[in-house]
């Protein structure tokens, strides 16, 4: 059977799929839609209000996935969003963990202004990060 995988994966904050959990931010799915339309597989981080010790485990699990994909030649990016605690992806811990493993995906930072602007620019930014 034909395997249609893209070999491209993005790590996204919970906000990207569940904006209703973050009423202070724009209520749209533009990050999800950008990743979907670019053909990326999505690894979603948990909600940002989970306990710290639980978050540590999710960061480790996510770092394991990133390391495995990069080792096998897949393209990987982390999408970090301004306005979320530690950019919605436990950015400091995740980067520290990945640095300790000597591996690093691309990082795509999205500002509050970009979230509020026309979706086309945001979609293009997401599409080109792993092109």
């Amino acid at each position: 059977m034909e395997d249609r995988r893209s070999y491209k994966v993005v790590i996204v904050p919970d906000y990207a799929l569940n904006p209703e959990n973050y009423p202070h931010l724009p209520q749209h799915l533009k990050i999800y839609e950008g990743a979907r339309d670019a053909g990326y597989g999505v690894i979603k981080m948990p909600p940002t209000d989970i306990p710290e010790e639980s978050a540590d485990e999710w960061v480790e699990i996510t770092a394991d996935m990133i390391e495995e994909y990069l080792n096998k030649g897949y393209k990987v990016a982390v999408i970090a969003v301004e306005g979320l605690p530690d950019k919605g992806v436990w950015f400091s811990k995740l980067v520290k963990e990945l640095e300790s493993r000597r591996t690093m995906p691309k990082i795509l930072e999205i500002s509050r202004g970009e979230l509020e602007a026309d979706g086309e620019q945001l979609a293009e930014k997401i599409k080109t990060v792993l092109s």
Partner: protein
Amino acid sequence: MGEGSKKVIFLSHCFINQNAKVLEFARYPGVVAPFLDFMKRRGYVVEQLPCPETLHMGIKRWWNTKELYDTPGFRKHCRRLAKHVVDLMEHYQRKGYDVVLIGLDGSPSCGVNITGRNPNWGGRPYASIEDYHIVEEMGVWMEELKAEIERRGVKLANMTGVPMDDPKFNMDESLRNIEKLVEG
């Protein structure tokens, strides 16, 4: 499940990331778009389970049967993941959400209603899809996750599987079934 109640759907990892599929089984480039778009149109919060197969055996793993994953080491790995998933289920339950779990039917780890067995698989790599025998059982990951859910007393509103790896799979029919199941 109450009409109008908030719902969180815990989905098997590969519905949102087809790059985690065992080779030959990715039907979409990344996200299973009709599935996720349906979830968001219905207003469901979506959570993604970790993929125990990719985490344990990697992305270039061979095809496996339930027997090959049914080991103390893989079950221990699943129990570690299950603890964090059920923490998250409790997190949503405390906020008043109904929790629904949707696995991947037919998978040796993620199957809910059906999985695949063959006692002869093992040793020198050789596998034919015809030799993957579908049986009415859960996969190993779902067995361990269900055990943790029950041990912690988390009440699931529903639990089912979607047979996306079946060549006869019908997405529209599957989405109708899920809507009935989730909305009651």
